[in-house]
């Protein structure tokens, strides 16, 4: 194990230590004997794949769950937390990945809920203004959260944590939802916090970011600590190896992909939001040819969900010409009719959208297969055909499961995603629209899925991928467009799409050298 962590001063003790920390769920070990030392004035990265145990560890440190074994020490003394409020009172702050905000309450109320309520609401509001000014994190205390962008919501989380004047701040995947430029601004704030003497635990799986920002990195894999090292002395590849435990098979596009006829065309698509919190789609046009993969980048909540609903037919439009599938106007057709035209869809949310969690895989095969796979005859379902799809998807995409036909919810994220993608690809679609294909999926499954998308395009299908992961888009797409506030930018060849260009578009700036126009969110 490397021990090249740069200089905690000898007069300082670690702020927080976990000693042999173990968390068990039934027979499953989410964390196994984890030792971590957190020092003041340091940004400590916690690296690991999805399911490596990062969230479990920070939940224990924040008092949300009780460790099964082992202990935590705060300034050298044993610490048992009864809950987050005790963690906060000791000086531990947390910025959640899935924000712990309340959509229908105001910013000030949200902040108040994260504090211990010892000051009056008025004093608190005044202090909120002060802290947000000092750190350059502007907020309007009177607005309700649902009106705010993702970046603004994160600001609430950070300001809320800072208002407790924490000695130790935990940030869970803070840049996952930010544009590269917004992330840069966040790093400035973090550097400043570090300079103020605070300790920071920074959870991420983005290696470049960790190398750039962090002083120490602890890598978790399968619930165990693999190593603690100085990320600045490591390469991205060596960090990745520690994280994944093996070299990941490289995804390879087959050479000489032919770009054919247009298979998916969108013409001036407009769509009103279906609830007050939604985004309006405006003048979306694109053309996607067979053999081509088009990526759509963008910060979450800029209309990607609405675009998926419009393309899939979950929300058909009045005008047939808005969506054309293989030359047939389909804008007014239902999702079932579009499937019959040869389109297939993979939504972002695996459980509850892509599958019914408490139903068997065979039934989930029927969910999308009933349209065109011979699973239904005269209104009666054919169980054998349903099981056959399960078996074929299992075989082709290496879906690991405990029995032949388990409930969808019992599969791990990666295996369920492989099943869902497999279920659609086995139907040999002409057009595949897929949202966040590898979100929250382990590296092995992600490679399988990306390869499957490339192979599908190689066979002549048109593939549209929406993703927030720019690396993923760079890896598999031919062209990239950016979604912002319900508008879609002109697609550019992936080779020309620098992170900076994409970042500007994701933040709503146009690429021409004029003043950025910030549209007002509805």
């Amino acid at each position: 194990m490397l021990d090249s962590t740069p200089g905690p001063r000898s007069d300082e003790a670690p702020l927080l230590q976990t000693v042999g920390l173990t968390k068990r769920y039934g027979t499953f070990l989410a964390n196994e004997a984890i030792d971590i030392d957190i020092w003041p004035r340091q940004i400590h990265a916690l690296l690991g794949e999805n399911g490596a145990g990062k969230s479990t560890l920070v939940k224990a440190i924040y008092g949300l769950i009780q460790p099964s074994e082992g202990e935590m020490r705060w300034l050298g003394e044993k610490m048992v937390l009864s809950g987050p409020s005790e963690a906060r009172s000791r000086g531990i702050g947390m910025v959640f990945q899935h924000f712990s905000l309340f959509d229908n309450l105001t910013v000030a109320e949200n902040v108040a809920l994260g504090l211990d309520g010892k000051e009056s609401f008025k004093d608190m509001s005044a202090r909120l203004q002060e802290v947000s000014n000092v750190y350059g994190l502007p907020l309007d205390p009177k607005r309700e959260v649902w009106q705010l962008s993702v970046g603004e919501r994160q600001r609430i989380e950070i300001v809320r944590a800072l208002m407790q004047n924490p000695k130790f701040l935990i940030l869970d995947e803070p840049t996952a939802v930010l544009t590269p430029q917004e992330a840069d601004q966040l790093f400035v704030v973090l550097e400043r916090l570090k300079a103020e003497g605070r300790a920071i635990l920074y959870i991420s799986h983005k290696l470049e970011e960790v190398k750039r920002l962090c002083d120490t990195a602890t890598i978790l894999r399968g619930g165990k600590k693999v190593s603690t090292c100085n990320p600045k002395f490591e390469t991205a590849a060596s960090l990745a190896r520690m994280m994944v435990g093996a070299d990941i098979k490289e995804v390879r596009a087959s050479a000489g992909r032919q770009v054919g006829i247009p298979r998916l065309v969108v013409n001036d698509l407009n769509l009103e939001p279906d609830d007050a919190h939604g985004v309006r789609l405006e003048h979306i046009s694109l053309e996607l040819r067979g053999g081509e993969i088009l990526g759509i980048a963008g910060v979450a909540g800029n209309g990607q969900d609405e675009l998926f609903a419009a393309l899939s037919g979950e929300r058909p439009s009045r005008d047939p010409g808005t969506v054309v599938i293989d030359g047939i106007a389909a804008g007014h057709l239902s999702i079932t009719r579009r499937r019959k035209l040869g389109a297939a869809f993979v939504p972002e949310e695996r459980l509850g959208h892509g599958t019914a969690p408490r139903m068997r895989l065979s039934e989930n095969a029927l969910l999308t297969g009933h349209a065109a796979s011979g699973m239904v005859q005269h209104g009666f379902v054919n169980t054998a055909a349903m099981l056959l799809t399960v078996d074929r998807a299992t075989e082709t995409f290496d879906v690991r499961k405990a029995k032949r036909d388990p409930e969808a919810a019992s599969l791990s994220g990666g295996n369920l995603q492989k099943f869902i993608v497999g279920r659609e690809i086995l139907r040999n679609p002409a057009v595949l629209v897929v949202s966040q294909p590898t979100w929250g999926v382990d590296a092995g499954a992600a490679a399988v899925i990306r390869q499957a998308l490339l192979d599908l395009a190689a066979n002549g299908a048109a593939v549209l991928v929406t993703s927030q992961d720019l690396d993923e888009l760079a890896e598999i797409t031919d062209r990239i467009a950016v979604m912002f506030h319900g508008h879609l930018s002109e697609p550019m060849p992936t080779a020309d799409a620098s992170r900076e260009k994409l970042g500007l578009l994701m933040g709503g700036s146009s690429l021409e050298p004029k003043e950025a126009t910030h549209a007002v969110r509805a």
């Binding site: 769920y25 039934g26 009780q66 048992v80 009864s82 809950g83 987050p84 409020s85 005790e86 906060r88 809920l113 211990d116 309520g117 899939s312 037919g313 979950e314 239902s334 999702i335 079932t336 499937r339 869809f345 939504p347 949310e349 509850g352 959208h353 892509g354 599958t355 019914a356 969690p357 408490r358 139903m359 039934e363 989930n364 029927l366 969910l367 999308t368 009933h370 349209a371 239904v376 209104g379 009666f380 379902v381 388990p406 409930e407 919810a409 019992s410």
Partner: protein
């Protein structure tokens, strides 16, 4: 010590089968305590409730007669509940079905109308029940109004409407001013299966309903749609299933079945239209649906069991002066226990003996 729920990775099929039995056991234990509090011998009372009705053929037939409407209504309700549509107004649909069918019986009274009368009555009952159930369903799908509240409100309306008819236009002139229609003609009466007995054709219809629902839910795409739309509405929309249509469909089916049960009850065991034709079948059927695990075969068994409690309750009132309301308490408790035990299918209960007891601050 702490009591927590832990989510199971897969639903437990064993518990799905035994949970209603555990629930019945717990209910019987609770009832024994209640009997003791009421100053009755629990063993004797339970005997009157659950054993005595099974020992003579009159009571056995009577159980089947009472189970008939319960099963028919509950099968319809189970479709709604599976689709996550909360029809709790089956009592009203039952009454409206009875009224609509009775209209034909009243209008053909004393004429030489032929054998078409009864089938027409049954069809009218089912149709009226379906239409009445569609009111809350349409309020839900068109306007987003809570179907729970609207369907229930319509029970009171149906009850008052029936009351008006039998006290007003349809009152039997020869009925000594009792609020009732005249006895229906033989062609307007559901035939009995055993001469001189009480068991009538409705029991056969109930069995057909159970069989049809089993096929619908287990073998057809429509049944699958109903189950998905309730279990995972967003996934159902992704599958291309229209939840509004399914709400209308399940409400219409359950209303039709409740209406059919209503007219069968009036044209069968009761023989005329009067207030109080239902001892709360429409509400008890909710319990039957859940006790039967929203499964048609399960509902058949559960319906027979709850019919037993009706008969047992009547006999206990006569034999031991136990108030009739005890039966309602029993049914309410049973539903609670069934729901609690169902929790075991998806969750595991676990007692955690924490080494320390810290009060959780409220922040």
């Amino acid at each position: 010590m702490q009591f927590v729920l832990e989510k199971r990775t897969e639903r437990s099929n064993t518990i799905a089968l035994v949970s209603p039995l555990i629930a019945i056991g717990l209910t019987i234990v609770t009832m024994s305590i209640l009997f003791a509090i009421l100053g009755k011998n629990p063993v004797a009372a339970l005997g009157v409730y659950f054993i005595d009705p099974l020992t003579d053929s009159y009571s056995l037939q009577e159980i089947a007669v009472k189970a008939t409407p319960l099963v028919m209504i509950a099968v319809g309700l189970s479709l709604c509940y599976l689709a996550n549509a909360w029809n709790i107004g089956a009592e009203g649909q039952f009454l409206i079905g009875a009224v609509a069918g009775s209209w034909i019986a009243v209008k053909t009274q004393g004429t030489d109308a032929g054998y078409w009368v009864l089938p027409a009555m049954l069809a009218a009952g089912a149709a009226a029940g379906a239409l009445y159930a569609l009111i809350p369903a349409i309020c839900k799908t068109r306007f987003g109004a809570s179907e729970i509240l609207t369907s229930l409100m319509l029970v009171y309306v149906a009850d008052l409407f029936l009351d008006y008819l039998v006290r007003g236009p349809w009152r039997d002139p020869a009925g000594f001013n009792f609020p009732t229609t005249a006895e229906f003609d033989p062609v307007a009466t559901v035939p009995v299966l055993i001469a001189g007995g009480r068991l009538h054709l409705g029991a056969i219809i109930a069995l057909i309903v159970v069989a049809a629902a089993s096929v619908l839910l287990g073998r057809t795409i429509k049944g699958f749609e109903i189950r998905v739309v309730g279990a995972a509405p967003r996934a159902a929309r992704f599958g291309g299933f229209n939840s509004d249509q399914l709400i209308l469909l399940t409400f219409a089916i359950s209303g039709a079945l409740a209406g059919l049960a209503g007219i069968i009850e009036v044209a069968g065991p009761v023989g005329h239209l009067q207030p109080g034709i239902s001892p709360g079948y429409g509400f008890t059927a909710i319990i039957v649906a859940f006790l039967g695990r929203l499964n048609p075969i399960g509902i058949l068994i559960a319906g027979l069991f709850l019919a037993l409690t009706f008969i047992g309750g009547e006999q206990a009132q006569i034999a031991m002066k136990i108030p009739l309301d005890v039966t309602k308490v029993f049914q309410g408790l049973l539903l609670f226990y069934v729901l609690a035990c169902d929790s075991l299918i998806l969750y595991r209960f676990r007692l955690i003996f924490a080494s320390r007891q810290v009060s959780r601050g409220t922040g």
